[in-house]
Symmetry: none
Subunit: 412 residues, 2 copies
């Protein structure tokens, strides 16, 4: 079964908002095992809405519109769907009562044009709106299902979950289950080469790689009639991928590197302290986004100036003079300094050139040194990263988190 | 002139990501006075990409695709556009060299499938990718313009701004010019009330408020044939708004609070140091996103633990014991401590409860204290903010930046 989502509203086409309704509905439909092949967005324009409905009804079984159910003149989604289906509109009494009640309870005055929101084809199953005034509708015609939903995400989501989902679940027997494997530090094309055989013979489940910032998510998706059956299908593929990538897989489903790092430190009862230079607080920001980060992070020193590196962390002035602030020698002393002065179990440091200025031929933008200091001494690493200033800050932070994770596996 | 945006990628149809590329491009095109009537999203599927191109080429002058330019087998956007236009692909040598160089400079291994990214129709104007490997292209055929862009937003935006915008600006005769006024710390509805008369009689230019995180952007947009003519239309409205909001307007166009703060510090030749607790590095991260932040920021101490507040900043143990780590007394000593120990002209501090845990009836989640210490002593402020953990971190950081800006105006 194939669904198509038509977002209606000029605010989409002016770029005032992103079409997050299409994203939400696609997710929900995919859980139901209903394929979505097309997203469309058009303005509040009769001809284009009709054109979109015409194409959609040719190629899809379920056509969902969002938006254009408001009380004003330019809201014409329902009227146009009814016109397309050759149906008239009449007052739906229960909806009118609900709208009147809604205005009464919020102390606002109901205007004549709000009545428009209670008009529906008599063939429609009207969907009540528990968080706003515009009801939605499900209309079945010629083996196609037309679903008309309001545009405000909170109203649309509430209506979909409560009134549309049960209706669609009856139609679909196979559901979709996914497991996401997070791989860090290997390029997308290398990953694909290493699982080419699996990709070539995929069927059910499917395997989809998605790359961003040095990370590749491998999504294994199975169509099955139950969670248990899906697990059975996913398990062997997952095990095979785990065998091939080992500890380069850092997590599952909604894991992030910062979440995994915080959890690993907590599990080992270890305290962390950070010394950041080129990342300028971004690494600490990521870590402290995780609730309970205070269990494991004692403090961070963002030693942007050389003086701060010397005074806060005890980096030797000579080291900076001889090797530069961007060097493995400085990174090493930063990590050791923050560990010593904070009393943390592990000190981690990063120093580099985030750009756009400050690069030289010998030390170009993107050159980053990191160090981790712990029970068994201090290790350092050199990275050559690319991208914008923000990109380099972010990539540096992720590389340090990933290294910290591997360091904990090997040393604690 | 009418443009149509075709997002390509199964991740869109599975709802893994929202189509923010369509939003960005729509905004940019609307500034150019180019109408967008259709957004389409399809998967990495040859037949559906062809179908989308066919409809788009019938009704639109400019067809922009995003996504599907990666090195892997399922990336077929460029190939399918070329097929649709009846063009072949050949190696574009400058692109191949750039890709080889990219892999060399990042120390990663280039695989055979990366070569695919350098294949283009010989008719194409190839657009270089300054932040990734996939080049884009502009192809003109039969009075239609086909623009093929990569999917990752950072790459797409950079390429559009630098290489597509100048190309399209030449095509449009009536252009749209905007001036954005950034107001911080006043609610959207209050702002709307204070300029209701201007909003009611707007025509050309238009005035559009857009709210996010305690900030309201007022965009004044004029349609005109030249920058000069647009300035003439925009100027009187802008002056009127400036008169009404005074120093609550912190900046213009692409200004951000952190950019304005860094510039003001640099202009006054002042050095800043920060002590962050609940913001966990987010404030420093924002400031160090600005190129040249190192001119003004000496260092930050993210003193997450009480011990760090005492040891790094000299906060009195008694103060924390008596008033708590989240108190104006602690904030004051943090700001004074970071100023003294760093040698900065200005020390700023923030301590609060970001949640979701850690709140009490007396000190709920969202309670935040800030302090700024400078030449004329130390001032403190209390804020009661709402939102998620990340929202409170972000709002706190913006409030501190805005206060710092006003503090500099009043004291330096």
């Amino acid at each position: 079964m194939v669904a198509e989502i038509i977002g209606i509203g000029s605010e989409l086409l002016l770029g005032q908002i992103a079409n997050t309704n299409a994203q939400f509905l696609s997710q929900q439909l995919s859980f139901l095992g209903i394929d979505v092949y097309w997203h469309i967005a058009v303005g509040d324009n009769r001809n284009r809405i009709l054109e979109a409905l015409k194409s959609a009804s040719k190629r899809s079984d379920i056509i969902i519109t969002t938006g254009g159910l408001g009380p004003t003149m330019d809201d014409i989604s329902k009227e146009t769907v009814a016109e397309f289906l050759g149906m008239g509109l009449e007052i739906h009494e229960p909806s009118l009562k609900r709208i009147e009640q809604y205005f009464k309870s919020t102390g606002r005055i109901m205007t004549e044009n709000n009545k428009k929101q209670a008009m529906f084809p008599k063939e429609a199953k009207v969907l009540q709106n528990d968080v706003g005034t515009a009801p939605g509708a499900i209309i079945e015609k010629d083996n196609k299902t037309y679903i008309v939903l309001p545009g405000p995400p909170a109203e649309m989501q509430h209506m979909f979950i409560n009134y549309v989902l049960p209706h669609l679940a009856d139609k679909s027997d196979k559901k979709i289950f996914s497991r996401v494997l997070h791989v860090f530090g290997i390029g997308e094309s290398t990953i694909e080469n290493r699982i080419k055989d699996l990709l070539l013979r995929q069927g059910n489940p499917t395997i989809a790689p998605l790359a961003s910032y040095g990370e590749v998510k491998l999504r294994i998706t199975a169509k099955a009639s139950s969670q248990q059956e899906a697990e059975k299908l996913i398990k062997p593929i997952q095990s095979e991928i785990e065998k091939r990538f080992g500890s380069d897989i850092y997590g599952y489903d909604d894991d992030t590197l910062e979440k995994v790092a915080v959890n690993m430190l907590r599990d080992r009862n270890l305290k962390l302290a950070l010394a950041e230079s080129c990342t300028g607080g971004h690494l600490s920001d990521l870590i402290t986004n995780i609730p309970g980060a205070s269990d494991v992070l004692l403090e961070s020193c963002i030693t942007y100036s050389n003086e701060a590196k010397i005074k806060r962390l005890g980096v030797a002035a000579d080291t900076i003079k001889t090797y530069g602030a961007v060097s493995w020698q400085t990174a090493k002393q930063m990590a050791e300094g923050i560990r010593r002065s904070s009393g943390a179990d592990i000190g981690a440091a990063v120093t580099g050139i985030a750009g756009p200025g400050g690069g030289t031929q010998k030390k170009p933008v993107g050159l980053v040194y990191m160090a981790i200091s712990g029970l068994n001494g201090t290790e350092t690493k050199e990275f050559r990263l690319s991208g914008s200033r923000l990109g380099i800050k972010h990539r540096s932070s992720l590389h340090l988190l990933n290294w910290l994770r591997l360091y904990l596996i090997n040393n604690y």
